[in-house]
């Protein structure tokens, strides 16, 4: 390659980096019951100078990662998404906690388990084998590691001053921590730092990284009520005005099964509000 051509390519690649384009995987629920989570994520990213591009023909992640080593077919759709980002030469951004968990666990295992990688690639027959090359960010990690909470703070036009917000991590954002590698699983700070960046006050409470009941709502409503009720009570006891989450199923359990009247929102809704892209919630 001639050096002038090489320089041209280098500059194009550098420009791409400045534009900060990411492959964005919304997942099935963000297309249907969690449109707010998606719409405000997209609007806010744009305002922060981040371009999000969906891969063509993405499929549902499956909702839950099957940890069993003899399960391969259930892991293929996540690998297809990871490979789409690899082929585009970009990092992958997810926003739903469940998608994020499935995709990160798949990526972690395929990069370490040769037998799994071999079986997956035997199925998929990709032009080039996928063995965990893609970097995966949760949207919150993108705010922290790509945009930076300091820069986010500068972009806030409507700070949520005086609002006491309880961050609900649940389980899927943090665990298993070896694969998710997002934050300290027992003493996380990423959502509290986000809350400070948009001008509000974070509320720390005991149940912030305990399970809401998840899919047990289909099997045993009383168990879902017990778990989500414990989360809401714990946040309310610490004086929270609202709870924020990244997970549509957490939002469902906390709103519908907990029996509590504490308001629950997606973190992208209050992000958009702080950036002046959404009217405030009437609390």
């Amino acid at each position: 390659m001639r050096s002038s051509t090489r320089r041209k390519w280098y500059n194009i690649r550098k420009d791409c980096k400045l534009m900060e384009t990411f492959t964005y995987y919304p997942g099935c629920t963000l297309r249907t019951k969690a449109k707010d989570l998606d719409a405000y994520a997209r609007a806010s990213a744009e305002a922060l100078g981040i371009a999000l591009e969906e891969p063509a023909d993405w499929q549902c992640c499956g909702g839950a990662y099957t940890t069993a080593k003899d399960e391969i077919a259930t892991k293929l759709s996540a690998v297809r998404t990871l490979n789409a980002a690899k082929e585009q030469g970009r990092a992958l951004i997810t926003v739903c906690s469940a998608c994020h968990n499935v995709i990160k666990q798949t990526n972690y295992d395929i990069s370490r388990d040769e037998e799994m990688a071999a079986k997956v690639n035997n199925y998929l027959q990709l032009p080039e084998a996928y063995t965990g090359e893609t970097t995966v960010y949760h949207y919150l990690e993108m705010l922290r590691d790509v945009v930076g909470f300091d820069k986010l703070k500068e972009k806030v036009v409507a700070p949520l001053k005086g609002v006491k917000i309880a961050a609900y991590y649940g389980c899927l954002l943090l665990r298993p921590s070896a694969a998710l590698a997002m934050d300290d699983p027992e003493n996380p700070t990423i959502m509290e730092d986000f809350i400070r960046a948009i001008g509000a006050t974070p509320v720390i409470y005991a149940q912030r990284n305990e399970c809401c009941g998840g899919y047990i709502t289909l099997e045993d409503k009383s168990q879902a009520a017990k778990r989500s009720g414990a989360v809401m009570e714990s946040a309310k006891d610490q004086g929270a005005d609202m709870i924020i989450t990244a997970c549509p199923l957490c939002l469902y359990n906390l709103r519908k099964n907990s029996g509590s009247d504490l308001p629950v929102y997606y973190f992208t809704e209050i992000l958009a509000q702080a950036l002046g892209l959404k009217e405030g919630n009437n609390e």
């Binding site: 099935c28 629920t29 069993a68 399960e71 047990i216 549509p248």
Partner: protein, 127 residues
Amino acid sequence: MNKNLKEQVLRSSGVNVLKCMRCGKCSGTCPSYDEMEYHPHQFVYMVEKGDIETLMKSESIYKCLTCFACVDRCPRGVQPAKVVEAVRLAAIRQQDGNHLSPDQIPSLLDEDLPQQAIVTAMRKYAK
């Protein structure tokens, strides 16, 4: 003791049950403790003893929320949730072993239930 089943569960989970020191932290931190007949630490030692069929017949396999609290908090890195998953798979992979069928789904829906709950439940409860 069913040696074949034990071997299958050990391979499928990838867990070394002999690492367990019976501290009970997994069960202590389990959000489904009260709902379970057999608790996470019992899964680990019953698999070690090869007593798998008892676990396969118990409703406890459908009570695990896969929240990974036991996985992260185990001081010995045993990963009990992976054992529960492997036992549940051994049960639902059997002929007529499905715990949830698509026919049941419409009656379980409400207008706010996210799709994520349905796909996850089908993954956990049916093959």
